[in-house]
Subunit: 115 residues, 2 copies
DNA sequence: GCAACAGTGACACAACTGTGTTAATGTTTG
DNA sequence: CAAACATTAACACAGTTGTGTCACTGTTGC
């Protein structure tokens, strides 16, 4: 009893039908299909759609940024490398002579980045 | 003895000087400055630059995607909401009647998304 | 059976990203 | 002190994102 077609799902969630199709293309919200190919939005997808809207509104997040977060979740190796990079990037810059973290950094990156 | 100005840092890391300035603007690699305002790239920044290049090459990651990952790290609330969204988005769609996760989903989103 | 939907595909367009280049000015160095 | 760098600011430009609209065709509901 909560099976909406694209137009109704759109007005119900505040998107346009066009955008629902786009979100499917971007693999962000993928509805199932009827036999004849119509998109079917269940409660699950409606929730995703509303939540995604709030995400954008409250945090000014772009769709492709959410898509990238999804990619990070699907590709653990990528996630590891990105996190390593970020850790290196915001480690507080030391002032002491020959900070030990420098070589540590170097080896870490060599290990992780090595083809 | 590893204090390069922007031009040398560029040729040393495979970027253009222009791009090093852009990366600073985007807060991805921020060098310190001399008294007179010249950018100074130390080993730390050189490592970041090389690693960033490899990230892009190997995983086809965009700069702004890395910037977003950095933002996720800086804003834990945002990270929580995004992760919740993703979790809801790739929970395997059940086939049983009135899946329990639906209401769970709903309350979770209400809690997290509530203004 | 026809109006009101749905499907895909295409064209359009503003805004943004990433990048080069050029100009006008300041700094470092042989 | 002049050459070779650096600084910022601006203009330019192709590619991408997000979005609307329009055309043509297929499906559904009354």
């Amino acid at each position: 009893m909560e099976e909406l077609t694209v137009g109704r799902a759109a007005t119900r969630t505040g998107w346009s039908a066009r955008m629902l199709r786009y979100l499917e293309l971007e693999a962000l919200v993928v509805p199932r299909r009827t036999e004849s190919g119509y998109r079917v939005y269940d409660l699950r997808e409606l929730n995703q759609l509303r939540a995604l809207r709030e995400l954008r509104r409250r945090f000014r997040v772009e769709l492709r940024e959410v898509a990238f977060a999804a990619r990070l979740r699907r590709e653990p190796e990528l996630r590891a490398v990105v996190e390593t990079w970020l850790a290196g990037a915001d480690a507080a810059p030391e002032s002491g002579a020959t900070p030990a973290w420098v070589e540590w950094e170097q080896r870490k990156h060599e290990r992780l980045i090595a083809a």
